[in-house]
């Protein structure tokens, strides 16, 4: 432990560079380190992964021993695509950290749901999708939207509940979506997106359209009946869908041990007859390779895959939650497993990236984020009455939206 902490303190310029905006939001340092040998896990196939689950412990330290480094190869990923992915990750992180600060400054109402720490889990798969593939995000999936290419302006307007959000400010802040990018509007109500994405996958199949669906959910969400009904149906009909569980060990204040008697939530898939795998959700390479295979399975007619990604949210459930139910050690251990510097270090080792290029990316994205903030702040607050429409498509003689006033 002591040794680990020492390691944690050895920040490299690279790590600081990438996570600067996040670091602004809290004191914990993010690091890369000289780590152990490659696990080679990303190269294993699903069968092997499934078998390996038996050996993984909840203590991810044991399962994924190298906190600071990642290794292996990203299958079928060009250098340009690797950089593009990096940009999406940095964009997500930078936007998120900026929003946290703006919230603390009281620039928008309500609360803010930070995803910092979990970006790899949804950015990496979203970046691989076609525009008309369907994404069913949950309440903490900024990365799904950024990963799929939704402009930050629309996302910032959503945070601010302004007229330029896709719903004109009537729906809920931080619930990112965009019809043009086929990211559905997440329900606050847990697992509705899971069922809807299952329905979309069914629709693709029924209409004989190409297209896959991706659904996101948390560890806590897997206890909900709709998790079961969705997965079961998808298994029976071999639907083109990838289910992703971001197991960040907590559901608000509920520790994993009160959500499940399992060690690894990928076992939930055993009940549905399709593969379930557990991976390090903070390892971009592992996430890339696993989601890539799952998408291939979906596109190839082989049915659903459930991927459990071990990850962590650095901050509270939302930004009004001090998250004091977690130990400092746990938080520190996990913030050290920051997916971004690990990926950056790997890119640099492989000479896909250098400091200069990284700096350029950072600068550009910072600007992009600032523009998005300006855009959102300049966007009008909705007219008070602007929500008095679109209850129905058709008109009905007895319906008056204003009848109560």
């Amino acid at each position: 432990m002591a040794e680990k902490k020492t390691k944690g303190k050895k920040k490299t310029a690279t790590a600081e560079a990438v996570t600067e905006s996040a670091a602004e939001s809290q004191e914990t340092g993010r690091t890369t380190g000289e780590g152990a040998a490659p696990t080679g896990e990303a190269k294993e196939d699903f069968q092997a992964l499934q078998r390996r689950r038996e050996d993984l412990a909840l203590d991810v330290t044991r399962a994924f021993p190298d906190k600071y480094r990642i290794s292996g190869e990203m299958e079928g990923c060009s250098d340009a695509a690797k950089i593009d992915l990096l940009e999406r990750l940095v964009r997500t992180r930078t936007f998120d950290a900026r929003m946290r600060r703006l919230f603390r400054q009281g620039r928008f109402e309500g609360t803010y749901y930070s995803q910092i720490g979990q970006e790899a889990c949804d950015v990496v798969i979203a970046a691989q999708l076609e525009k008309t593939d369907f994404v069913g995000p949950s309440h903490r999936d900024l990365g799904a939207s950024v990963g799929k290419g939704i402009p930050l302006t629309a996302l910032a307007a959503q945070v601010y509940n302004r007229v330029d959000s896709p719903d004109g400010g009537r729906y809920t802040a931080c619930h990112y979506w965009h019809p043009e990018y086929w990211v559905m509007q997440p329900s606050t109500s847990i697992m509705m997106n899971w069922i809807a994405a299952t329905g979309a996958a069914f629709g693709f199949k029924m209409l004989k359209k190409k297209g896959v669906a991706v659904a996101f959910g948390g560890d806590g969400a897997t206890a909900h009946g709709d998790f079961h009904e969705g997965c079961n149906f998808a298994g029976v009909h071999r639907l083109p869908i990838v289910y992703i569980i971001q197991n960040n060990l907590w559901a608000e204040s509920l520790p994993l041990s009160l959500t499940t008697a399992l060690t690894d939530l990928a076992h939930r898939a055993d009940a549905y007859g399709f593969p379930g795998v557990t991976i390090d959700g903070n390892d971009v390479i592992s996430v890339w390779n696993t989601t890539r295979k799952a998408l291939q399975r979906a596109r190839g007619g082989d049915g659903p895959t459930l991927i459990e990604m071990k990850t962590y949210r650095w901050f509270g459930h939302s930004d009004i939650d001090p998250a004091d139910y977690r130990s400092e050690d746990e938080v520190e251990d996990w913030t050290e497993r920051d997916p971004l510097p690990r990926y950056v270090a790997w890119l640099m080792e492989n000479e896909v990236l250098d400091e200069e290029r990284l700096e350029g990316i950072r600068q550009a994205i910072r600007q992009e984020v600032e523009q998005a903030v300006e855009f959102a702040e300049a966007s009008a607050r909705p007219e008070p009455e602007a929500f008095l429409s679109e209850v129905f498509v058709h008109e009905y003689p007895g319906f008056d939206v204003r009848a109560g006033r």
Binding site: P166, Y171, M184, I195, A196, T198, A201, M206, H394, G398
Partner: protein, 327 residues
Amino acid sequence: MAAITYIDAINRTLHEEMRRDDTTFLIGEDTGIYGGVFKATRGLLEAFGPERVIDSPISESLIAGMTVGAAMVGCRPLPEIQFADFISPAFDQIVQQLARYRWRTNGTYAMPVTIRCPWGGGVGGGVFHSQSNEAWFMNVPGLVMVAPSTVRDAAGLLRAAIRSDDPVLYWEHKKLYRSIKDDLPEGEEIVTEIGRAHVAREGGDVTAITFGYLLHETLKAAEALSGDGIEVEVIDLRTLLPLDTPTILESVSKTGKAVVIHEAPKVGGIGGEIAAILAEECFWELDAPVRRLTGFNTSFPAAKTMEDYYMPNAGEIAAALRATAET
């Protein structure tokens, strides 16, 4: 031209509309292989195959909720809830997701979904096969509910619902399935406009407002009263949500008196909303208290003796109408 039953009208319309629009699909329990526990979906699996006629697992939340995603990618889903009593596990998906999705997305998506719900008492089924639970949905913005009382409307409202771009709960009354018949010309595309009530009988003394099986008991009661010189105007609601306020107000403004009749328990039943509309919007034309004749404030009982007692009948309806007319 042979007369067909209410359930035949449903079955025929499903065939026709599924043939017409290949983005439609059916999903429900025992809807495929078995053709539905009431045989309403008979022949559809054979006609349209297992891709479009889904025998679902026992997962009502999925059955209702999956339609939202399916609709977003271009389908026109036709889920069936095996008995309306089992709509409660699907309640969450219907009221929070399906009904509100258009509004939430600021009009981006339509939800052209028709959920068929076999409902109503008088079929010897006990509390889980007899409920009239339409009132649960009355306070849900974005939802449409229709309830045909005739063979013609069984076809016409179903076609209108399927073609509608709003989510519709279609309440089909089990006791009417095979008890009424009508001549429906094959090939005629009957469409009953959603949102409009129907004056099933004209009369100037008192308005009876009802729907479903009880329309027929009410018509019987009206005939009986006519002999005594009391002329009842009978409104068949057809659409329960949004209610056709103009038609209701027009009739009651004329008669000055109203009785609302339904199977569900009185407290919180849809009769309350109708009586409230009258108390608010045609108060000055009312000449008597608005009466509600309804099921008892209990669950629906099983034993035949009790069931017979639970169901309002023509005699009771006539008595209520007479009492109101004579107020």
